[in-house]
């Protein structure tokens, strides 16, 4: 018996469709993609064909008009197959949110239909070598040169870098204003002075492409400014707030896959004359895994629905919905390797990759320590107000 989350018919369809894609298209190739560090273009085409890139985009721009919850349902199922592939998909939404949230009508009309159709991938560029958790330390600059902007600097570890056609980035326009001196811009692959650095070698998430974005006297037209000048950090924070439940959902999907493998194995594996699932040591591990996964899922769904309900300030909830499920995913995948024992450590079985992949979830889109900061700051404010 599984928990009834009272999904609508359409939400149920999203779940079924994404599960089908995970089973038929992702699982059969995931080990190979991981081994070869291969960008999953074929699967991106399948996701485009399935209309999934338009999930969160309003119907007027060719999307399906879904919300955070629908997005979470989709990535959870895809992540059940492979989170490297899912991150590639989800990063496109991360890059698209700034346009959706802050773009002018012209910008939306220009970019969103192609994004919704899956014709163009998007990437989001915030992180730099010296600006990780401390986002205000970014060094990339954008200078107003009359009829165009000139951008200089380097973004680091950008998911979909080099593969995406559209980039939303944050650059400093007024250094002296500190956090209020940042602005958001839209860049296109092929813009003059815009190139890509090396592709990173990673512990996990190896199907996704992680690269530097290099801006060397990069000239872009004036109309690429996204939102108002000086609004850059608000754009970044709003985007991340909206995206974090999705990262939690990826954790749920990954953990669920690890549990599924663990239970399947524990039922088949015979030691001391009986399947190892009959041993309490294994049973308790599986019970903890299952319970924590369900709690994660309930949290992600509840937060996503709250956001879709139209609340204004949801930084705390959003941070919680990333923090807990991703910690659970790390723990569950580690335990899955333990349940499978020596086999779990071998690349022949999928849990080894799951454990390697899981680690990134505690790091990217704000480390889990940063999530705790966000939650604690919100608590501080809430209690002061009372």
């Amino acid at each position: 018996m599984s928990v009834n989350y009272f999904l609508t018919e359409e939400q149920q369809m999203i779940v079924e469709l994404c599960r089908q894609i995970a089973e038929e298209k992702i699982v059969p190739v995931r080990a190979e993609l991981d081994r070869n560090e291969e960008f999953p273009w074929e699967i991106m085409k399948d996701l485009a064909q399935a209309d999934l890139f338009g999930l969160y985009i309003p119907e007027e721009y060719g999307g399906l008009g879904g919300g955070t919850f629908e997005n979470c349902l989709a990535v959870e199922q895809l992540a059940w197959g492979c989170i490297g592939v899912t991150t590639t998909f989800a990063a496109s939404a991360l890059g698209g949110y700034p346009i959706l949230l802050f773009g002018s009508k012209e910008q939306k009309e220009r970019y969103l239909p192609d994004v919704a159709a899956g014709k163009k991938l998007v990437a989001f560029g915030l992180t730099e070598a010296g600006a990780g958790s401390d986002a205000a330390a970014i060094k990339t600059t954008a200078v107003d040169a009359g009829d165009h902007w000139v951008i200089n600097g380097t973004k680091q570890w950008i998911t979909n870098g080099g593969e995406a056609e559209i980039y939303t980035i944050i650059a400093m326009t007024d250094k002296h204003k500190g956090a209020r001196g940042a602005s958001a811009f839209i860049l296109e692959k092929g813009d003059e002075g815009f190139s890509f650095g090396k592709k990173e070698k990673k512990m996990g998430l190896r199907a996704s492409s992680t690269r530097e974005l290099i801006f060397n006297e990069c000239r872009i037209p004036k109309d690429r400014l996204l939102g108002r000048r000086g609004q850059g950090f608000i754009v970044a924070m709003r985007t991340l707030d909206l995206a974090r439940p999705g990262i939690g959902a990826i954790g749920v999907g990954l953990a669920q896959a690890a549990l599924d493998e663990s239970v399947k194995y524990a039922k088949e594996r015979v030691q001391f004359g009986q399947p190892i699932i009959s041993f309490q040591a294994i049973q308790h591990m599986l019970a903890d895994m299952a319970t924590e996964i369900e709690a994660s899922r309930a949290l992600v769904y509840a937060v996503a629905r709250t956001i879709d309900g139209g609340v204004k300030n949801f930084s705390k909830l959003s941070a919680m919905s990333k923090l807990f499920p991703t910690d659970v995913a790390m723990k569950v995948t580690t335990d899955a390797v333990q349940v499978l024992g020596g086999y779990g450590y071998m690349q022949e079985y999928p849990v080894e990759k799951m454990m390697r992949d899981a680690k990134i979830l505690q790091i990217y889109e704000g480390t889990n320590q940063i999530q705790k900061n966000v939650i604690a700051q919100a608590l501080n404010k809430e209690y002061a107000a009372k």
Partner: protein, 262 residues
């Protein structure tokens, strides 16, 4: 361009268990799915439509619940579908089936292009496609493993796979082709397609609706009859060869010699 794809609902081979003692299928939990080769037919039809325009209509003959197969086809991008269903069709062999399908296609206004899966995995006859082409009076090429649209969209150039390799064959429309797995990779459904499939009205046509001659459908229209069925007997089946690996291999070699193979 009027493109028809003929599909069939079959028991999912993965979920079918067989009771060897009784010689019956264990039907509990057996799902009905679209015949695997038909997915390639659907994909081929969609590809041609996407290139040349037109409408893809899925046609299936079967019990009323075969409408699930049509809905799935619509979720994949097929424009519309129809279930041809009537108790009078029961017992149809391939001759009666091709007649029935041809009457349905006639009611649909004929076809410029028809795709069928090479064969259904429950019947394995591979006869409906070629038979149907005769009913429709159009050429047929079976087992196509590759295809491209001819210059000017007049027809298809296909690889007709055979035991030795393939023949490259050109056929102008109207024509019928039967598809095999290596032809293409069937697409996944789309969300919009799934929503459309959910809402779609799927007409169910009876023998009368398609103007079928009662003498040419179902059991009456079927020259072949099942005289008897029986369970193949495998005498002395399943002998496990025990012992050390050397002994096992020795025992096997002995038995194969005994059977005159070695």
């Amino acid at each position: 361009m009027n493109i028809i794809v003929c599909i069939k609902q079959v028991p999912d081979a993965a979920s079918v268990k067989w009771d060897r003692e009784k010689g019956t299928l264990i039907r509990d939990g057996v799902k009905s799915v679209i015949n695997p080769f038909d997915y390639n037919a659907i994909e081929a039809a969609l590809q041609v439509r996407d290139e040349l325009g037109g409408t893809v209509t899925a046609v299936t003959m079967g019990p009323p619940q075969a409408e699930e197969a049509i809905r799935e086809a619509i979720s994949l991008g097929v424009d519309q579908g129809v279930v041809v269903s009537d108790r009078a069709f029961a017992g149809a062999d391939t001759l009666a089936t091709t007649y029935t399908l041809s009457k349905a296609i006639e009611k649909l206004g004929g076809a410029d292009l028809v795709f069928c899966g090479k064969q259904a995995i429950d019947g394995d006859t591979a006869q409906v496609g070629p038979g149907l082409s005769v009913r429709l009076g159009i050429p047929c090429v079976t087992c196509i493993g590759d295809m491209e649209v001819l210059e000017g969209g007049k027809g298809l150039r296909v690889k007709r796979m055979n035991e030795f390799g393939y023949d490259l064959v050109e056929v102008e429309f109207p024509a019928l082709f039967t598809t095999i797995a290596s032809l293409n990779t069937p697409r996944v459904p789309s969300l919009k397609g799934k929503m459309r499939a959910k809402k779609a009205k799927i007409p169910v046509w009876t023998a009368e609706d398609i103007g079928a001659d009662p003498d040419r459908i179902g059991l009456k229209g079927s020259p072949t009859q099942v005289a008897s069925t029986y369970i193949p007997t495998f005498e002395a089946r399943k002998e496990m060869l025990e012992g050390s690996p050397e002994e096992q291999v020795e025992a096997l070699v002995e038995r194969l010699k005994g059977a005159g193979i070695l």
